[in-house]
Amino acid sequence: MNKVLFFAHLRDEAGVESAEIEAAGKTVAQLKEIVAETYKLGKLDSAMAAINEEFAPNEEVIQEGDVIAFIPPVSGG
């Protein structure tokens, strides 16, 4: 299983802070599609993804146990 984290407007839209999803073997892009459909997330395309707290490109393959976070454009500072 994999933990998936939502932040900022994505969390507001998804209505949850995190979810458990079976994502091992899928790419980040594939997981994005699944998550966008499941949670009706319109702007997931503009989000970055992080795997285990490091930015990961769309083509990276997720491993069992990885924590995936969807990161909207940041606005700290």
């Binding site: 932040f7 900022a8 994005k32 707290e53 930015f55 490109p57 976070a69 909207p72 606005s75 500072g77």
Partner: protein
């Protein structure tokens, strides 16, 4: 602990203290404060949220990038989360270097990088509504799913 996410008011002096060194002739700080007016619109308060564990790692990455580029630099960054009122301090960046030009440049680099790669978001609250900043149309989106090629695993 030179890189921190704070839930309470940031003590600026304590961030500065982390970069004091006998080899430094200059310390610069950047203090980001909550401004009342942005493009004529009046902000009531802000909420900052962070992906805390990753944010600390990314702040540390920025510090390491600075130490590679500016010899002898020391860096400390604290970013606050939670509800902030007008004039409250959102972020403090302290950089010390042997010579002053480097202290300014390296500090400026830090704030620009924070705005690129550190997973922190602010939600602006106005009299007539609220919005997460960063998902607005005028912002650059990241269609490839990443901030830029060079940011990955740097």
């Amino acid at each position: 602990m030179n890189y921190e996410i704070a839930k309470e008011n940031i003590d600026i002096q304590s961030v500065i203290d982390k970069v004091v060194q006998r080899e430094a002739g200059a310390i610069t700080t950047f203090i980001g404060t909550v401004r009342e007016l942005t493009k004529g619109k009046k902000t009531l308060y802000l909420i900052y949220e962070a992906y805390e564990s990753m944010a600390v790692k990314k702040l540390e990455q920025i510090g390491n990038e600075i130490k590679e580029r500016w010899e002898g630099a020391e860096v400390a960054i604290t970013h606050r989360v939670g509800k902030l009122d007008i004039t409250d301090v959102a972020v403090v960046i302290a950089v010390s270097t042997p010579h002053r030009a480097d202290a300014y440049e390296a500090n400026r680099y830090a704030i620009e990088r924070i705005k690129e790669i550190v997973p922190i978001w602010k939600k602006e609250h106005w009299e007539d509504g609220q919005e997460w900043i960063g998902d607005q149309l005028e912002r650059v989106a990241y269609p490839s799913g990443k901030p830029e090629a060079g940011d990955l695993n740097e």
